[in-house]
């Protein structure tokens, strides 16, 4: 155990986490070509493209120190996005230390700080790593300064490296050995292991990724998962190398896997404690949470005959993503589909992208919504994540919406832009501080619903991409929220309803009907478009009538052609959603629902 080091690398996106991981893996002579590593650490195509992981991956490495001593390094890769804060915190709980990477040319960013807090909460040894020192724009001194001022870490403990060129990696390896404490734990105690992730395998079921704290686990042990109370018999244990490598047993300090015929990852909750059924630990690990989705949206197949395929695809995705929630739903305008809950916006985008790419589905997604607590006059409280389900305004006493604590780091030049953006988004300024001479950190409280409406893109564009941002749910607060309906030719289109703060209702309503106007084809009659709160119209537009092909001729040769045109028209109509007597192309929902 003295020779085990469990650690993770945390970094703001693009600061060089993956490159550094490559170098460390190379030093351990496991392999060098990047593509192999990609296969190990970033498994999904979409993850690779976006440069983010949504799963926690682990790899066990062998390292021989300068003194010739043999060590085992367990490197745990964490998801790199705010949507997955809980997952990151659980992966960090499996470690004794972290390498906190800071790009010497960029300095500390919002995510660096958020990650630091997570590491501190888990009492980890933190080794600051200043990366990209080879770059001409690298400013090591100023980076050190911000490590001190904004991270509160001793700058002298920072290890300067160039992950790209390999400079400083040996020193870093020694620092890992010397500064990160070895794991502690007693083999004779009852089994106590932390689940930090799991994934689904067609043949073996859930492969549970664990870190052992106490006791041992081996084949044929009956294990108990504390959160679900279910018991399974272990088929196999082992560690993560290039592929799974079987072991006789896992012992305290080990990071590895357990296969126990568990049918779905829904049963292997991240953060849960694994113990033995007949010799249970009396102190399950702290910090377990049943994660709840924060963002919701409707998901509908563009072609109604793809409903079953969508259902299968969602079930398949959930095999590997327990945080994806969904239930059947149907919309008057979009037909049969699903209401889905996601951890955050990125999670939502990834799920949708996977459904479209890996399962070849064409989808319409309704506007993302957060969860509201609606207090009724009757004294009861209901939670609503779907605008369609919002009760009649007359029966509502008060609505509460989720608020987050948001930290934004930006060069001070863009402070003005950001402050006005945030105040547009109903943000409450708490305080701010300079983290170095050029940059400030702004602390806000913001409604989550505003973040869901493209906040991140707007933040990037008003800071020319320089601002970074991190958020965390804090509480629910009373707000004047209203449900806005969109009416086409007098008929409400349920899929287009949304909940918004009353001050913004008019603007957003106008925006949607203006877009609808461009998308709904002209009909033979005038189509009024309206946005309404209850019976009060807050915005309106008209689509003028379309006068068609006034008097084309029709002789002998035209008859078959014309009949085929009618057939085609009917065929095309199957792809239109009938709202009253207006036909809206399915694809239109795609465009409209990309809320800007």
């Amino acid at each position: 155990m003295e020779h085990i080091r469990n650690f993770s690398i945390i970094a703001h996106i693009d600061h060089g986490k993956s490159t550094l991981a490559d170098r460390i893996i190379e030093k351990c002579r496991l392999l060098s070509p990047r593509d192999h590593i990609d296969q190990i650490l970033d498994t999904m195509e979409i993850e690779r493209e976006r440069g983010i992981t949504i799963k926690s991956n682990a790899i066990t490495l062998d390292y021989t120190s300068r003194d010739g001593e043999h060590f085992i390094f367990n490197l745990i890769d964490t998801p790199g996005h705010v949507d997955f804060t809980y997952e990151v915190s659980r992966a960090l709980a499996a470690c004794e230390g972290v390498l906190l990477v800071v790009d010497a040319s960029q300095g500390v960013e919002a995510q660096t700080i958020a990650n630091l807090y997570l590491a501190m909460e888990n009492n980890l040894e933190i080794i600051p790593v200043i990366n990209k020192i080879d770059m001409p724009s690298a400013d090591i001194d100023s980076t050190k300064k911000s490590i001190e001022t904004s991270l509160g870490l001793d700058p002298e403990t920072a290890v300067p490296v160039s992950a790209r060129e390999g400079t400083g990696i040996d020193d870093l390896m020694e620092a890992i050995i010397q500064r990160i404490p070895p794991p502690r734990g007693d083999e004779r105690e009852p089994l106590k292991a932390l689940i930090f992730d799991s994934y689904f395998d067609k043949y073996q079921g859930a492969i549970v990724k664990v870190r052992l704290f106490e006791g041992t686990v081996k084949r044929d042990d009956d294990i108990l998962l504390c959160a679900t109370g279910k018991v399974y018999s272990v088929n196999e244990v082992g560690v993560f190398r290039l592929s799974l490598e079987k072991r006789d047993a896992l012992r305290p300090g080990d990071v590895g896997y357990i296969i126990a015929g568990i049918k779905t990852v829904m049963d292997t909750k991240i953060g849960d404690t694994v113990t033995l059924a007949d010799r249970q630990t009396v102190t399950p690990l702290k910090g377990f949470k049943d994660v709840k989705p924060m963002v919701f949206s409707g998901l509908y197949p563009v072609y109604s005959d793809e409903y079953d395929n969508l259902k299968d695809a969602l079930y398949k995705l959930r095999l590997n993503d327990a945080s994806l929630l969904f239930e059947p739903d149907n919309s008057f305008a979009l037909g049969f589909g699903f209401r889905c809950g996601y951890l955050g916006l990125l999670h939502m985008e990834i799920v949708q992208e996977r459904l479209e790419r890996e399962f070849d589905l064409s989808l319409v997604t309704t506007a993302p919504s957060v969860e509201y607590k609606v207090h009724l006059n009757s004294g009861t409280m209901i939670t609503i994540d779907n605008p369609v389900k919002m009760p009649d305004p007359g029966s509502i006493m008060m609505i509460e919406e989720p608020f987050v604590k948001a930290d934004i780091i930006t060069p001070s030049d863009y402070m003005g832009n950001i402050m006005s953006l945030v105040s547009e988004c109903r943000g409450i300024h708490r305080h701010m501080e300079y983290i170095d001479t050029r940059r400030v950190q702004l602390h806000y409280e913001l409604p989550l619903s505003e973040i869901v409406f493209n906040f991140y893109d707007k933040l990037k564009s008003c800071s020319r991409g320089y601002a970074s941002f991190d958020y965390e749910l804090i509480d629910f607060r009373e707000s004047s929220m209203v449900k806005v309906d969109i009416l086409v030719n007098g008929e409400p289109v349920d899929a287009l309803s949304f909940i918004v703060h009353e001050d913004k209702a008019r603007l957003r309503g106008k925006d949607i009907i203006t877009r609808l106007k461009d998308i709904i084809p002209q009909h033979q009659f005038k189509i009024p478009l309206q946005a309404a709160i209850g019976s009060q119209i807050i915005a309106r537009e008209n689509i003028s009538a379309h006068r068609k092909d006034v008097t084309a001729k029709c002789y002998g040769g035209d008859i078959t052609r014309k009949r085929k045109l009618l057939e085609k028209q009917k065929e095309g109509k199957k792809r239109l959603k009938q709202v009253g007597s207006v036909e809206i192309p399915q694809e239109a929902f795609l465009t409209i629902l990309k809320i800007g």
């Binding site: 006034v550 008097t551 002998g556 008859i559 078959t560 009949r563 009618l566």
Partner: protein, 382 residues
């Protein structure tokens, strides 16, 4: 039994920018341009192939030379074709024999020749006499100036029809009224008035996109034409056709009343024995072939009823429910009545019930939305 014969001549001098038909421009190749002899020979053989086997007693009461530009045929060629027709099917005495004539071919000598070859009715491809509109639509033929019109209309010995195109880029109702006033001075028995359609994949469509305002203007032009012609005593009998009483095109009426016709030549269509057939071959292949490829249009069970509505409602007199049942074997079902009733309430259709029958016709508003009205009536059947 009487049957219509359509003879297709897929050759033109040049290609008009708005034209979406399959036709071969032969302007540069032969001088003066003419329909290749080999084509006419092949037509004669097609007649033998396809007409000689028809049940006895079948005769032609209308013949229509269409195209393309059928006036590229020489009077002699027409005579040959007519003679062959007479051999294989028999042209009835008093049959209507129509020829479409382009302005280039309107010479006294040619007109006389056509008449002598048995042509009884000619349709002048007038379209527009105004230089700017002629150019705007990129018509490849000679512009039909008033002199040509006068020569065509003052000739005697045949029934005259004039094809007019309206709703041209830049054209307004006043322009339409002027052109029609000019034509009406000569009192042709028949006029066809079409709105310009922007066919896909034509040169015109690629340079001119039309749009909402243009379409609104087209409607105004068409309305101006309707009003002007009715005021001159023409009967608006089909969406795009007008005639002095009794001068309706007998051949074209067959298209709208479910009467049989046989088309000859590549690209031609037939309706015969309750089937729709077409000759689907490129011209060169047709000329070389030993047998023409006649394709039967695969139609679903409801096709007859759909087509009956689609064509019959083009006639302003409308259709009758009993006639439809007699011709197609299909009754108007409850759902269709419901749909028609809806259209009636919208002012697009008129349903007149009397006894066991009902007459269904488009209203004036319905004429302009005919494609849509028809679609809504038959939607359930397709």
């Amino acid at each position: 039994m009487s049957c219509g014969i359509y003879i297709h001549i897929p050759f033109c001098r040049g290609k008009c920018d708005y034209c979406g038909f399959y036709s071969i421009p032969i302007g540069g190749q032969v001088d003066p341009p003419a329909v290749p002899g080999a084509y006419v020979e092949r037509l004669l053989r097609e007649m033998e192939e396809r007409l000689s086997g028809l049940p006895g007693g079948e005769t032609a009461d209308t013949v229509f030379f269409g195209g393309g530009t059928p006036s590229l045929l020489s009077p002699l060629q027409i005579r040959e074709i007519a003679a062959a027709l007479n051999t294989y099917i028999g042209i009835e005495r008093g049959a209507e024999v129509t020829l479409e004539v382009n302005p280039e071919d309107v010479t006294e000598e040619k007109l006389r020749g056509f008449i002598d070859s048995g042509i009884t009715r000619m349709v002048l491809g007038y379209q527009t006499s105004r230089e700017e509109f002629h150019r705007a639509i990129g018509r490849s033929t000679m512009r039909c100036d008033p002199l040509v019109l006068e020569m065509f209309c003052s000739a005697r010995g045949f029934s005259r029809s004039v094809d007019v195109m309206v709703g041209l880029p830049g054209q307004g109702p006043v322009d339409v009224k002027e052109e029609l006033a000019l034509i009406c001075r000569y009192g042709p028995e028949h006029l066809s008035v079409y709105c310009l359609t922007l066919e896909k994949n034509t040169r015109l469509a690629s340079r001119f996109r039309g749009g909402e305002e243009f379409q609104a203007g087209q409607r105004l032009c068409m309305e101006a034409a309707m009003d002007a012609l009715v005021a001159q005593g023409y009967c608006h009998y089909e969406i795009s056709n007008f005639a002095l009483p009794g001068c309706e095109s007998r051949h074209n009426m067959k298209y709208w009343t479910f009467e049989p016709y046989i088309g000859l030549g590549p690209g031609s269509h037939s309706f015969y024995g309750g089937k729709r057939l077409s000759v689907a071959m490129p011209v060169d292949q047709y000329i070389r072939s030993d047998r023409v490829a006649v394709i039967v249009d695969p139609r679903g069970g409801n096709a007859a009823a759909v087509e009956y509505m689609m064509t019959g409602l083009r006639l302003l007199r409308g259709i009758s429910a009993t006639a439809m049942e007699r011709m197609t074997g299909e009754r108007i079902g409850e759902e269709m009545w419901r749909r028609m009733h809806e259209l009636e309430k919208e002012g697009l259709l008129e349903v007149q019930r009397g006894g066991d029958d009902a007459i269904i016709r488009l209203t004036r508003e319905g004429i302009f939305l005919s494609d849509w009205v028809i679609y809504r009536i038959v939607e359930d059947l397709i």
